[in-house]
Symmetry: C2
Subunit: 347 residues, 2 copies
C-alpha cells in the first residue's frame, strides 16, 4: 500500500486517466472527477461527456478510442448519484470503454464486477476492473499497539467540509519543504488520487480501526503519514466510522476542518453543527485513547461560499478563538498550519 | 423484525434446537450454546458432542437423527474459535445434520452458505441454512430522527462483560411485572436467543447506526426496546461499533456493565479498563447527540470471579460511588435496576 513521491497506483489500473462525466446533472455529481483533475492534472488526458452533459472540468472532451490513442490507460467513473447506483447509461459506457481498450475503475456502491455484461467485456478485451468501494481482503482487527512514525489526521465538524483537500494540501506543502509526507486515502476519491488506500466507510464495522492501522503502518524514515478523515464524531449517521478511524490512526496531530455557514449537519436538518472548540475537544479526548500525546495543530476552513474579505476575517477570528493557525487550504494554502505542525514536532 | 412474548424466529429456521458443541476445547468455546441453554431452555432438546469433547451444558447428549426424532428442528453451531473459521469437522457435522433432516444455523465469520458441500447438502435435503453474522440486505443509513417509544441500551467498560445477559435479565424482570419489553439482539448469540436481530459488528461501517434504528423502530404501545450493547467506547479495536450503536439506539436509559478485576481491555494487554464514572460520562455525553434526555439508571457487574461476600460489597461500593443501583444480574437479579428505570420514567 506504500505510495511515495510521484508513485502511481499499484493495482493493474493506472493513469493516464480519461475522466468519465457521462450524463452528470450538476457539479456535485462530478466531485470525484473534479478532485482528480485538481490534484492530479498530469494524470488526466481528458474528459468524456455524453451529448447533454452540462458540467465540465475544463479538460478536452475526448471519445474513448481517441483517449486510448492519446495514451489514456484507464477510464475513471467519477460521477456520483444518490444511492451510488449504476444506471444503464453507465453500464453501456463502461462496456464501450473496455471495448476501446481502456481499463475501468469506479467508486459506486454498485460494483463493476457484479455486472455480468461489464465483466464479460473486460474479459474479452483483457482489461481490468477496479471498484474503489471494495475493501481489500484480509484487513485485520485493530490492535491499538503504539507504532513508529508520525501521523496527522484531518477531522471535521461534518461530512464534506474539506478533509481530503486539506490533507492533500498539507502533503504538497510538506513535500515542497523537503519533508517526507504521504497522503493516506480513506475514501473513493482519495483512493483514485493516491492510487491506493482503503474505503473505510465500506469495511465491515469490526474492522474500521484495523483498516486504518493497515494503511498507515509503522514507518521509520522520520516521515509523516497524512491520513484523510471521514465524517464527524457529531454526525449521527456516521460517527462510528469517524471514531474507529481516529483510534486506528493514533494521530500525533489533528487538523480540524469546517465549512462556515452550513445550516445543519449534512443530510440531517434537525442537527446543528457542533461548536468548533467542543468538536476539537471531543476529537482530542477520543484520540488520547490510542495516543495520549495527540495535539491539535491547525484549523482548515472551506470558505468557498464567502467573499474573500469575509474569508480572511473568519479565519482570523477562528485562529484567535482556538489559538491555532487557521487557513482555507484552497485559497490561502496551508503554510501556517505546516509551520505550526513542524514547530510542535521539532524534536 | 418484531418479536414479542414467546415468539420464535421469523426465518425458516426455528426451535426446538440441537446445540452443537462438536470438538469444543473449553467452556469459552461454547459461549453461544451456553447463552441459548441458559435463556431459552425450553427451546433446547439436547446437545451434540464429538467423542473427545469435554465441555458440557448439562443437557442430554443426542445424535443428530435422534434429536430430529425427538422434535429438534434446527442444529445451532454454538461454538466459537479464534478467527471464526469452520474446520473440516464442523463442515462434516453440518452436512450430517442436514442429512438427518435438521436445518443448520451458525454464527461464524466463515459462512455456511459459502461452503459448496454444505449448500449441496441443504439442497438435497430441502433444509435451510442461516448465518447469523450475515446482516439482512437493505439496511438503511441512520437518519438520527427522534422516534417514538422508549429504549434502554446496555453499555460496557469492555467487550464480554455481560451486556447481553443484563439486557435479557431486564427483559425477563420487566415482563414479570407486566411491562411490555423486548430484547433487541445485536450479536450472534442474542440473535439465536431472540430469533431476530442484526449482527451490528458485521454490517458495513456506514450503516452501524442505521442497523440499530432498523431493529428498534418507533413503537407506540408504551413498551420498551431493550437493546443489547456491543464492545466499549474505550476499546481501541471496536469503539466505532459501540458509538454507532449508541447513536442509532437513541437510548432513554443506559445501564453500565462491567466485570471487576479484569486486568486489561479484552485482547489488549497495554490498555487498562476505564474508570467506571469516566466510562459512564463518556457514554452519556455521546448519547446526548441523538437523545439529549438520556439517563443512567443502573450498573450491572459480572462478579462470577469473586466470592459471594465480596460480590455484595463491591456492588454496594459501586452503587454508593455512582449513585445508581448496582447488581449482578445472574446472582442478584435486576430488580433494583428495573425499580429505578420505572421510577425515572414514571410519566
Amino acid at each position: 500500500m506504500s505510495i511515495h513521491g510521484d508513485a502511481v497506483p499499484d493495482g493493474s489500473w493506472r493513469p493516464p486517466y480519461l475522466l468519465y462525466l457521462g450524463n452528470a446533472p450538476d457539479d456535485l455529481a462530478i466531485k470525484t472527477a473534479r478532485g482528480l483533475a485538481y490534484w492530479r492534472p498530469d494524470w488526466c488526458v481528458g474528459q468524456y461527456r455524453n451529448a447533454h452533459c452540462k458540467p465540465t472540468l475544463g479538460l478536452r472532451d475526448l471519445g474513448m478510442a481517441q483517449a486510448r490513442a492519446e495514451g489514456a490507460d484507464t477510464m475513471v467513473i467519477g460521477t456520483a448519484n444518490a444511492g451510488g447506483t449504476m444506471g444503464p447509461d453507465i453500464v453501456a459506457d463502461a462496456i464501450a470503454a473496455l471495448d476501446a481498450g481502456l481499463n475501468v475503475v469506479a467508486g459506486l456502491h454498485q460494483k463493476l464486477r457484479e455486472n455480468p455484461d461489464i465483466v464479460a467485456a473486460a474479459r474479452r478485451n483483457g482489461r481490468s476492473l477496479f471498484d474503489a468501494r471494495d475493501p481489500a481482503p484480509g484487513i485485520p482487527v485493530g490492535n491499538g499497539r503504539p507504532r513508529a512514525g508520525r501521523r496527522l489526521l484531518t477531522v471535521g465538524t461534518d461530512c464534506s467540509v474539506g478533509k481530503m483537500y486539506t490533507t492533500l494540501a498539507i502533503e504538497r506543502a510538506m513535500r515542497q519543504r523537503g519533508c517526507r509526507a504521504d497522503f493516506r486515502a480513506t475514501g473513493q476519491t482519495g483512493i483514485f488520487i493516491a492510487g491506493a488506500g482503503v474505503p473505510v466507510d465500506a469495511v465491515v464495522a469490526d474492522f474500521i480501526s484495523g483498516a486504518v492501522e493497515w494503511i498507515s503502518p509503522a514507518r521509520l524514515d522520520d516521515g509523516w503519514d497524512l491520513i484523510e478523515g471521514q465524517g464527524s464524531l457529531f454526525h449521527p449517521s456516521y460517527a462510528g466510522v469517524s471514531l474507529g478511524l481516529l483510534h486506528g490512526a493514533q494521530p500525533d496531530a489533528l487538523v480540524l476542518c469546517h465549512e462556515p455557514g452550513r445550516p445543519h449537519m449534512r443530510g440531517l436538518s434537525g442537527y446543528p453543527l457542533p461548536e468548533l472548540r467542543r468538536c476539537l475537544e471531543a476529537n482530542l479526548t477520543a484520540a488520547r485513547l490510542t495516543n495520549p500525546a495527540v495535539k491539535a495543530v491547525g484549523v482548515a476552513l472551506n470558505t468557498s461560499g464567502l467573499p474573500a474579505e469575509q474569508a480572511q476575517s473568519i479565519c482570523q477570528a477562528t485562529s484567535d478563538q482556538l489559538g491555532l493557525p487557521c487557513q482555507d487550504p484552497v485559497t490561502m494554502g496551508v503554510d501556517a498550519i505546516v509551520d505550526n505542525l513542524l514547530a510542535c514536532f521539532a524534536n
